[in-house]
Every structure is written in C-alpha cells, then in structure tokens.
C-alpha cells in the first residue's frame, strides 16, 4: 500500500538527504496580558504580575527534518503543534533555542490569509502569490494553471467578498500549491472544500511527495497521518512524547486522548456530584475484549467467510440500567471499517453492575487481507461514552494474492455481457 512504499523510500534516503529544518532545544513562552490599554496598565502597575499569566507552549523541542519527508505533527488541542509549525515557519520567534531552515517555504496556516475582500480574485492571486514569494512574471506564467486548479472560472474577476467560502478556499489553496515551495507547512487546511476538491488537494500533496519536497502537516485526521506521513511527532503539553513511525504515534496518541478523556470525565463527574449528588456516570469499564473466528482458536487468522466472534466484558461500579455496547473495527491506518452497537442490533440489555460479557457474532465476515483492531465502548442511554478501550484486541486476515483492500471478494475476468 502507499504507506509501505513511502516508508521504504524514506528509509533508503535517510542518510543522504540534507536537513531542511533543524530545531534545537526550542521553548516558547506565551504571556497573556489581561490589560491592554494605557489606563488599565497604569492602574495595574503597582499590583505587580497578577495581570499577567504565562504558559509554555513548547518545552525543549529538538527535531531535525530531512528533505523529502512528510512529517505529521499530532497532539490534542493546545498541545503546541500549531505553535511548533509557526516557529518552524519563522512566524513566531522562540523564547529560547534556535531554528534553522533552508529553501523556499510556503506556509498554509490559513488559506487566503492575504486575501483582501475588496480586490478581485485575479488581483488577489497576484498579491497572495507575491506574499508566498513568487515574482510577478512567475505568477503570470502559472496563472492559467492556478485558475484551472481552483475551478473558479469566470468569477476570477469578481471581488472575493462575493465568493462562497468554498471558492475562497479553493482559490487560496490553488495559489499556495503553485508557489513551488521546498518546504510546505500545512495546518489543518486539507479538511476544506467538497470531496472532489479534497481529492485534488491530496493528489497534489502526493505529487509534492513524489517530487521529493518536504511537507510538515498538522492534522487531527489520524487516517491522514498514516496515509500521508512517513514520520509523526506527537506533542503533549509542549513536549515531544513520540517521534517516529506514524502508526506508533497514532496508537500513542489514542492513549493520551483516552487518558485525557478519563481525566475530563472524572472532573465532569465531580462537578455533577457536587450539583446533583452522586450519579451513575463514569464508573463503567470495558474490562477486556477478544476476537476470534467461530470454530477456530483465538489468535488464528480469520478466513473470509468465517463467523467472527467478538466478546466484550464490561462492568460498572455503581450499576446502570440502560446502557449500550459498541464495537468498531479499524484497519492499520486507523480507518474505520466496520461498526455496530447493541442498540443498533436491537439487543435487550439487563442492569449492568457485576462483570458481564456481550458477545457479538459477525456472520460471514469477509475482510480484506491485513491486521484489524477492535475498539470497544460502553455508553449510556444518551450515547455518552462511559469507557473506551481503543485497540482492545486484534485479528488477522491472511494474505490474498488476487486483490487488495479492506473487503474480500473473489475476482475473475469473464466475457463482457454485451
């Protein structure tokens, strides 16, 4: 698959590729001032620092990025990934440490940042291209290409304030990807436009990779991470907690997210308890999960056409009347392949307190070759997650030489019907 080939080429060029970005022991402190006018400042002057609040968005981050790689920065909101991207792009200076970079950089931190609403699309293309470092002549040469890519057509001579948000973003993306950068910084911008345009964007990113350009992207779409990147850096509270193979980073990230979810849930439960007295929420646990083909041993490969058995063991400290259990099967790229819940199936559930096992039987399961992970969740009636167990268990489907993909079907070439 795509990931395998990119990882392989990345490993091969590991040694000879020059460093394009070198971040050394970078820390960034933000000071939030609560007073912004002269009066407020004078009033607050004698009272010291209570009007300032500081926090470290990055702490001692050291990374090297070599040319030709696609690196994903992941982390939950506020983990410092966007700050790191801005520091790499030179938009913010670090408080301490150093950043060195070479080559032309195009930062897609926000599409159309340089667009002026009162100017026409055409005027904005020239302006934005110039902001991204293109000369007028270069822009002229690429103008038709940009226009074609954006699909804006005759609207190019309309003021951009009359554009729909989709048109706006399409034009901005078209300009940005035609600036010929050595290093492309992308922050959450691939989630824009309709599906066809997203496809186009991803294709463009792939051709960038193919041309040996370097891409650093920030994204929340974990599927995109494993699909596009050959290296992922996981940030948590401003620190690098994982740096390496994307699959590993995604797994690690899920753990961080689960940890946070539990913390938040506990905090929420504490609030609820303070308000309404003890509630049943937040005492449920997914204890374990097992998956195997009916009639085979646990751990044996699951053959297409087997009945897949998934058993989830649950418990609840204080007891809950109405609940549901959900399973989701992901492939190794983190893309959901299959999912269902007891509610969807219409299964009756009884009060949950002591350990109880829910057994799902997926009849005639035909998965494509590869490894699959089962995520299990316990939810209350309203669908709030009481407990999640990501990648609770896994199963393998053996290699099938005639086809690839997530679905199994026997292919053959036959006579055309007409």
């Amino acid at each position: 698959m795509t990931t395998d080939t990119t990882t392989a080429t990345a490993a091969a060029t590991e040694d000879e590729a020059p460093e394009i970005v070198r971040v050394r022991d970078v820390s960034k402190r933000f000071v939030i001032r609560k007073d912004n006018s002269l009066k407020e400042r004078l009033v607050a002057f004698g009272r010291g620092r209570q009007h300032r609040e500081e926090f470290w968005a990055l702490r001692h981050v050291t990374i090297d990025i070599r040319a030709g790689h696609t690196v994903a920065l992941i982390g939950h909101n506020g983990s410092g990934k966007s700050t790191l991207l801005k520091v790499i792009g030179g938009i913010i200076d670090p408080t301490s440490g150093s950043v060195a970079r070479r080559g032309r950089i195009a930062a897609l931190l926000e599409l159309g940042a340089g667009f002026h609403p009162d100017l026409t699309g055409r005027e904005n293309v020239y302006l934005n291209a110039s902001i991204l470092g293109l000369s007028r002549q270069e822009t002229e040469e690429r103008f038709d290409e940009i226009l074609g890519f954006s699909g804006i057509g005759d609207f190019i001579d309309t003021q951009v304030k009359f554009y729909s948000s989709g048109m706006y973003v399409r034009l901005a993306f078209a300009v940005a990807v035609h600036t010929d950068p050595d290093l492309l910084l992308v922050d959450e911008v691939l989630a824009v436009g309709d599906e066809a345009f997203q496809r186009k964007c991803l294709d463009k990113i792939r051709s960038f990779q193919d041309e040996g350009r370097t891409i650093i992207l920030v994204t929340h779409n974990l599927g995109q991470v494993t699909e596009l990147a050959d290296r992922a850096i996981l940030l948590n509270k401003g620190e690098v907690v994982y740096d390496g193979e994307p699959g590993g980073a995604v797994t690690e990230f899920r753990k961080v997210l689960e940890g946070r979810r539990v913390l938040e849930a506990e905090a929420e439960a504490a609030v609820q308890t303070a308000k309404h007295g003890p509630v049943s929420v937040e005492h449920g646990t997914v204890v374990e999960a097992r998956a195997w083909a009916d009639g085979r041993a646990v751990g044996d490969p699951v053959q297409p056409g087997d009945d897949l058995r998934i058993e989830i063991t649950l418990e609840h400290e204080t007891g809950i009347e109405d609940w549901k259990c959900a399973i989701q099967i992901d492939n190794t790229l983190g893309q959901p392949v299959y999912g269902t819940t007891t509610e969807r199936i219409g299964a009756e559930v009884s009060r949950l307190k002591e350990r109880q096992t829910v057994a799902f039987l997926l009849r005639d399961a035909r998965f494509g070759a590869g490894k699959y992970f089962v995520n299990a969740s316990l939810m209350d009636r309203a669908g709030r997650h009481l407990s999640d167990k990501p990648q609770a268990c896994s199963f393998d489907v053996p290699y099938y030489p005639l086809a690839i993909g997530m679905v199994h079907s026997v292919p053959e070439v036959v006579e055309p019907s007409a």
């Binding site: 801005k86 792009g89 938009i91 913010i92 950089i105 940042a113 302006l127 902001i131 000369s135 007028r136």
Partner: protein, 284 residues
C-alpha cells in the same frame, strides 16, 4: 519566501536586503491599499482630494479673510495649500504606518514576511496621494500665473526627503509600539492635529519671528524638521512670496543637520522595531 538560516534580528542591512527582495510585494501592497480604499465609491480617488480642498477653503476664508491672517501673505491660498500638501504627506505617513501592523494582523499571524513591509507600504500609499495633491497644487500655481519656475524650485527635493525620512523613522517606531499599546493610534491623531499648528502652514514664519524675537525659542520652533520641510516647500512652490517672505538663515544647513539626525533615528527605530517584531504574531 526564503527565510534561510539568517537571523531575523540581525543587522539593519540584513533587514534592508530582505525588504529589497520583497519590493514587488511592496508595490502590490501599496496598490492594494489604494485600490481597496475607494473600491466601491463612485467618485473614487476624487475623495482623496476632498479633505485637503475643504481644509484649504476653511483656512483661506476663515483664517485668511475673516481673521486677517492673509495680510502680508500674497497668494494666501497657494501658500496654505503648499503647506497643507506637504504636511498632509507627513500626517498621512504617520497615521497610516501607526495602524499598519495591527491592520495587517491576518497576514502577520500566518505568513513570514519582513514586517517592515507593512509600514513601508503605508509610506508608499501616502506618497501616491501626495503626488496627486501636488499635481493639483501645480495646476493651481499655473492658473494664478505663478508657476514655480525659478532658481529655488529644487528646495522641493530636500523638503520631501526630510519628511519621508522622519515619517518612515517614526512610522516604524509607532507601528511597532502600537501593537503592544493600542492607545498610540489615538494619541497620534491628537499629536498630528497639534503639529499642524506647530509649523507655519496657515500663518507665516515672519509672524512667529515677530512674536518670539531672535533667540533660542525661535530656533527651537524653526528646527522642527516638519517646519523646515514646510518652509523649504513653500520656498519652492509659493512664487508669490519671493522677495516678500522671510525665511530663517541657513535653511539648507538646518535641513542638512536634521537629515543626519533623521538617518540616525531611522536606524535606531529600525532596531527597536526589529526587537519588538518577534512577538508581533502572538500579540497582534
């Protein structure tokens, strides 16, 4: 955009080179400013002229005729309009640059560019408006039959240069400080209003001389770089005053000294700007 490995807080020369590399962008930004300002108005650029012409009308009629300031100042309208034109250049530079960084917050937060570009673009658009107003002034002098064709017309050049220099220097400083303290832009409006009256624009330098007498006070008044530029500009454009009006001694020398000080200020303020710009993206 080549950020390269060079240190952004490096010397003023590095900053200058960086700006020169982006000169095409600079001209586009100036054009953006000008185009967008009157984009959807029917009269467009004519509005640029309405304000100075109204000012001219007020000053020429109220102060010149009603209050009698025009006595002893031949071609009073031309005199006032020359002063207003050249002062307008300075006031527009300062007003525009002060707001320039805050006004381009969207870009500053998202893209790395040498940040000096934004105040410089404001200087550029102020310069453009100045050229238009200057053309009107020129037409007016021709209409009254006193076109500025004489031995002292070249005073134009040092006058305008002086204002561009001081405008740019203070513009850099104010644009950066305004990011941290938004009060600056309001303060600037007030100071610009005051400065208009601190130079011989609607009254004559002779009146000040008569009031202050020769001495330190007059020197302080005269050596204000704006006053020097206004005087130089009037010397060049206001033909009616030739032989009648008095100018301070050694005007050119004073201008030269002011110019040297201006250069020093420009470097100094650029350093301040460079120090402050590191945090623009998060404060603005």
């Amino acid at each position: 955009m080549t950020v390269g490995g060079d240190d952004k807080s490096g010397g003023s020369w590095a900053a200058l080179r960086d700006i020169l590399r982006h000169r095409e962008l600079l001209s586009l930004l100036v054009r953006r400013d000008l185009k967008s300002r009157y984009k959807d108005s029917v009269l467009g650029f004519i509005w640029t002229l309405v304000r100075p012409l109204t000012q001219l009308l007020i000053y020429a009629v109220v102060i010149g005729k009603v209050l009698g300031a025009a006595k002893g100042i031949p071609d009073f309208a031309i005199y006032v309009f020359s002063g207003l034109t050249v002062y307008g250049l300075f006031s527009e530079i300062i007003g525009g640059t002060t707001a320039s960084i805050v006004g381009n917050a969207g870009l500053i937060k998202k893209v790395y560019l040498p940040r000096e570009i934004f105040p410089l673009a404001s200087v550029g658009s102020a310069g453009f408006n100045f050229v238009i107003q200057f053309a009107i002034l020129l037409v007016a002098t021709i209409v009254v039959g006193r076109a500025p064709l004489h031995a002292e017309t070249w005073y134009l050049i040092p006058s305008v240069l002086l204002l561009l220099l001081y405008g740019t220097a203070f513009g850099l400083l104010l644009s950066a400080v305004n990011v941290y303290l938004r009060d600056i832009q309001y303060l600037v409006e007030v100071v610009l209003l005051l400065l208009l009256w601190a130079s011989p624009i609607v009254y004559s330098w002779t009146m000040v001389r008569d009031a202050l007498g020769h001495g330190l006070a007059l020197d302080i008044y005269t050596d204000n770089p704006i006053t020097l530029a206004v005087l130089g500009f009037q010397k060049a454009m206001w033909v009616g005053g030739q032989g009648v009006a008095h100018y301070p001694d050694q005007l050119l020398l004073r201008m030269g000294v002011a110019f040297v000080i201006g250069i020093v200020l420009l470097f100094g303020f650029q350093r301040v700007f460079a120090r402050l710009q590191g945090n623009f993206a998060q404060v603005v």
